[in-house]
Symmetry: C2
Subunit: 480 residues, 2 copies
């Protein structure tokens, strides 16, 4: 990548590498400290692969207490600390630097307790998203937020980024499904935030920590809400001749007060690629395809389908197909959930993550097309339409530096449009390194100063994942 | 009240009263500055009437800009600032002190903009809760959180306390229904937090400010989510022979995954008083009464009623009545919504606001009875059972100082039980002055220090509503 500068590296810390590694080995034992360059290189990047840096060391603590000891030790060394779950961040949230120790949470993979009566589970934060649902599915429960990467990504990363997913339209994103956290501060202090019930008294530090991208502390345990799975669910496909009709149909459904479980949108380039990959039976002769899923008892499903198709009629869908079997439903979702992978087979792409008011969908979609055409690039749109969370995939050739730069510029322009119409820079991927410099499009310096002062309360020396979230310029001066 | 100490008054500020009043008059004009003692006395208390203090002055600014000028001026005077909506706080959140200026938001009562397509409204924070719904009801929309005081209380007060209401079981509390805020910092700076869409990028200061009880800044405008009203709604009454059966029935309904709009609970003393007042047709021969409301289309309502009554059967309700008309539904709700007023006709009471895991309902209810009996006091229970938000009314005689002290002690014991079983001190009334000293039951000093450091970022001199939320001991030293 070309346009994002990196903060200065603390060479003195790198000079003390042997001493720092020795201290970490004394705490964790050699088997849980990764020190050789070859092995450290495995942690040099995340799913935003264009950025790379080999960290000073990698540690894999096995308990909250070990995390506490590691942080208390590192706090005296000047090393930066990057907490890492599964490294699936699309915004570079887990990108290390040469003067940073990566604190991997992979060994904190235990489900501590499940309380079905109160519908909560206590988990360590290295547990993968899908394993929470796997642990409770036998009793008919599930954990709601479902990022496309849910097979790999950890609940710790979900908390850092306040992750979403297709089914968050009905159930909310991560912040709506977490009741409590155990967090280790940089000085090693262990704090419990929130609880297992509702909003606790006092300030809402729980909400503050969720989405703070590993900059306030290292979260080692979470109390998550588990929900009773609906009796059944059924997706339907609706094809339209124009983005305008599809967008207006989405706005009308949402405006009616119905909240389907999911409303996903694909444009013609995306439909073509996904159908070729997944053979989901998507119509190939439409400009826009909606996947709308409803759930409940048979009576509820029938009622919701009748109301939704009634609303859609006014927008003249050219295709309307209601899934008739579990196999058909699985194929419909397989196409959508593998969309990014399918697209990756035919082109490099940059995945944007802006949010807009749903009523502005048609206008923003045509502006996105115009922006990309202006740079001579193609774009495919696959996104969570129900809550206005866009994922334009800007297609380019990674081996052509000129195209790479144009794709980055187009991506920035698209996010500026999202902010301009009253939306925001990120729906579920976080700011990370990727959108750091765009934050001043959305926030004034006063707004950013407030946020940065809050960071300084938790981390006065800016050692916790400091390269992310805030523009490099305008940061507070911190002592080394 | 006896056991809650007040912070020291700054006599120097009181000595500068004339000068401070003159400065405020210069900004707002004399007609919007209340300076005579008789008129100031109207602001000496809120709905927690046992505490009183006549403020230094009261100002009624008419715009965000005027709020900004007033705060910038007061920031130089050393005066404390207490923002006030309608003064309906049950925890003493709007209680002033003699060295404080009350900043009343009554004139900020304008609905700025309504955007039905995107289901948001922009309102000034002096607008009453019910007037938001009134403004959008003609188009079939409503604002969801519905405190019992909704005819009087302002959205600004709701934001300060993160208020709830009977219908929050389905729709969430204030923090789930606010998308953006305009806030004035103590130095007069105006900041915009959040937006009109989803979670914004960066730290979640929106969640932090909601529920911060006027301690971080003065919120003057809010962007609220408005929802499409359901096609219909229907309450049902279920009476049980024991608290155990009623509590277990609530836990079973919630555990099944059904989220009714509301599940309200009354015990025998409460039923008797409410029925005498509202003639709602409540059964008088049961130990516990549930009011369960469902909503949706006719088909959905029928489906939900069938599923809920099916679940309830196992708990052998002695009464089961489904409302047959709008008149009957209105009477059922009138009894519940006027419960506190009805109780006030026969006894003084202290209204607690603890939250517990729903599975612990029967156990906690019997412990509450035992606690009150231990002090020789009666108790009535009326509360939001679906989300475990208890409102035990501890009955006593206000004119008997001994009973008053016992009621306070019983209230404290009840809240300690709530925390002990994994719940928390407050569900919707806030901490205020009332539960300030109990915060250390729920939080360690490390937890409280974190919260107080966050306050210090926004308000380094602790001038904004400082007597509230945090125990007096263990506070940071601040310069005057």
């Amino acid at each position: 990548m070309t346009h994002i500068a990196m903060p200065a590296i603390d060479e003195a810390v790198i000079g003390r590498r042997d001493e720092i590694v020795a201290g970490l080995v004394a705490i964790l034992g050699a088997e849980h400290v990764i020190a050789t360059e070859d092995e450290r290189r495995a942690y040099e990047t995340d799913a935003l692969t264009a950025y790379r840096a080999v960290p000073l060391a990698v540690v894999l603590p096995g308990s909250t207490e070990e995390v506490s000891k590691v942080l208390a030790f590192l706090n005296g060394t000047g090393a930066k600390v990057i907490a890492r779950g599964a490294g699936t961040s699309l915004s570079g949230g887990a990108l290390p630097s040469e003067d940073a120790v990566v604190l991997g949470l992979a060994r904190l993979n235990r489900i501590v307790d499940i309380d079905y009566a109160n519908r909560v589970a206590r988990v360590q934060t290295g547990v993968t998203n899908v394993n929470i649902t796997n642990a409770v599915a036998g009793q008919g429960f599930f954990y709601a937020p479902d990022p496309s990467s849910q097979l790999a990504c950890t609940i710790g990363g979900n908390i850092a980024m306040n992750s979403g997913g297709a089914h968050c339209l009905k159930y909310g994103v991560t912040t709506n499904n977490i009741l409590g956290l155990r967090m280790v501060m940089l000085d090693g202090t262990i704090v419990d935030i929130g609880g297992s019930e509702c909003d606790a008294a006092g300030y809402d530090l729980l909400g503050l920590v969720i989405g703070s991208e590993g900059q306030l502390g290292v979260v080692t345990e979470a109390t998550v809400r588990i929900l009773r799975a609906a009796e059944g669910a059924r997706p339907m496909l609706m094809g339209f001749d124009s983005a305008e009709s599809a967008g207006a149909c989405v706005a009308a459904i949402i405006g009616s007060g119905i909240i389907p479980v999911a409303i996903e949108y694909m444009d013609r380039p995306a439909i073509k690629v996904c159908e070729a990959f997944a053979h989901a039976g998507y119509p190939l002769d439409v400009e826009a395809l909606l996947i709308i899923e409803v759930e409940g008892s048979e009576a509820e499903i029938a009622d919701l389908i009748a109301r939704i198709t009634g609303i859609a009629e006014a927008f003249k869908p050219s295709t309307l197909r209601i899934s008739q079997s579990a196999t058909e439903s699985a194929a419909i979702w397989k196409g959508r959930k593998s969309a990014f992978g399918a697209m990756g087979r035919i082109a490099d792409y940059m995945c944007m993550d802006g949010v807009i008011p749903t009523s502005r969908l048609p206008e923003v979609l045509s502006r996105i097309t115009a922006i990309c055409e202006g740079y001579g690039l193609a774009v495919a749109n696959i996104f969570h339409a129900g809550d206005g969370n866009l994922h334009p995939l800007v297609l380019y050739d990674m081996n052509d530096p000129d195209q790479l730069e144009k794709a980055e510029l187009a991506g920035g322009d698209i996010l500026k449009v999202c902010v301009e119409v009253g939306g925001c820079l990120t729906g579920e991927h976080g700011v990370g390194i990727e959108k750091r410099e765009l934050m001043s499009e959305q926030f004034t310096q006063v707004d950013l100063d407030q946020q940065m002062q809050v960071k300084s309360v938790f981390d006065p020396g800016w050692k916790l994942n400091p390269a992310k979230v805030f523009p490099l310029e305008g940061r507070p001066a911190v002592s080394a």
